[in-house]
Symmetry: C2
Subunit: 239 residues, 2 copies
């Protein structure tokens, strides 16, 4: 079966004897491969690439038979076809990761912007509430209407304890860990430091690089401000 080992060896050996440093063998080219640009072996011709790309779009993981056919059509070894598809898939994947990063980044920024707006709005609401509260209390003080009842159907009673927070006590210390980022600028370029597996921290000369130290982030997370209040009626279902 499989008559392995393509002829390239011969070429490689020759090359080695000549004294070239690469012990790679591939340069060999049975058929055409007239590269438009230069005297290059390696590197498939534009036409070959075009066909391969076309096939890849249709099926990134073709059957052996199709690969064989492609090999015949393009004058390449079946092995080369197989390898090309493998590499192409790997390339596709890493490209995809980069694109995902950019998309996610965009959405992060948008969300952060919305978050900030919402925060401001929240602050506005809080201030309004504060004022209304004060105003209410003043009015109640002026009226001195029957000041001790616990029902919730009266005219001048405080209805604001049935299914919501106690505005005066719980609301003023909400935002605490939400105020960073928004200017993070995780530029996905110019990285290069902090190698793959081990975490390099001490020996880096400040070459910018590694953006997120993963500590400036993630300091917010727990803002469960509703959990211990008397909110039991799921008012947010209204929305």
């Amino acid at each position: 079966m499989l008559a392995r080992r393509e002829q390239p060896q011969a070429a490689a050996m020759v090359k080695l004897e000549v004294g070239l440093p690469g012990f790679d063998l591939d340069m060999f080219n049975p058929v055409q491969n007239i590269r438009p640009s230069s005297k290059n072996k390696r590197r498939f011709s534009d036409e070959q690439i075009k066909s391969l790309e076309f096939m890849f779009e249709n099926d990134s993981r073709p059957e052996s038979q199709i690969k064989q056919q492609l090999a015949n059509e393009l004058g390449l070894q079946p092995r080369q076809i197989a390898i090309w598809f493998q590499n192409r898939r790997a390339r596709s994947k890493s490209k995809q990761i980069e694109r995902d990063y950019n998309i996610l980044k965009e959405n992060y920024d948008a969300l952060a912007s919305s978050y900030e707006s919402l925060k401001r709005e929240n602050q506005s609401l809080r201030i309004q509430l504060e004022k209304l509260k004060t105003q209410n209390e003043k009015e109640q003080g002026n009226k001195t209407c029957e000041s001790n009842r616990s029902g919730n159907s009266g005219d001048c009673e405080s209805q604001n304890t049935s299914d919501m927070l106690d505005t005066n006590e719980k609301i003023t210390f909400l935002f605490e860990g939400h105020d960073h980022m928004l200017s993070t600028e995780n530029k996905s370029k110019n990285v290069e430091n902090t190698d793959g597996d081990r975490v390099v921290l001490e020996m880096m000369e400040g070459t910018d690089g590694s953006l997120t130290s993963s500590e400036k982030w993630c300091s917010f997370e727990s803002n469960c401000f509703l959990d211990e209040s008397s909110c039991s009626s799921n008012w947010w279902e209204y929305w």
Copy 2:
């Protein structure tokens, strides 16, 4: 079974290039391997890698002199050293992108969570405001105190028009484009489809893959709710 794998290259190369000690022993020697022969054609020895990695940590782009010295020490050609560093930098970079993605993802999720919480809080505040307003109006109706003045220092006057929104009119249609995501699950694995440059959409057999279609996102963005209101005193500076 065919005796495949030839590493004559390796042998030839070693003989040709140098004969420096320490190098290539594992090229000939099936050092404690499950697979006896057919070992590395390329692939530097663990020791070489170790030295290279160590140097890389210190400086990912060393001077020619240092590279030369490394070449001597490791029994490699200066060219090989240079290439190794180049490849190493490229690897480092793509690794970094992946890590950045994961970090960004985490932070996105955290921010989305915070955003949801904030939104709920906002809703709560809005409801409270509503109730207080109603209550206020009722009380004002009951009191029928001097009901037409525009100063802002009275007892039962409405103070809420000086530097804030008109609560009853502007507040109820705020959240409109903020209600998606939060369950996006951009799993950064298993991508592989949608090739690098062209966007493949029709011919994909549903192999999951490409996560964000970039359209489900980005539908929110403009929630400038404060711009046309009479807010001119930058109350958010208090925070």
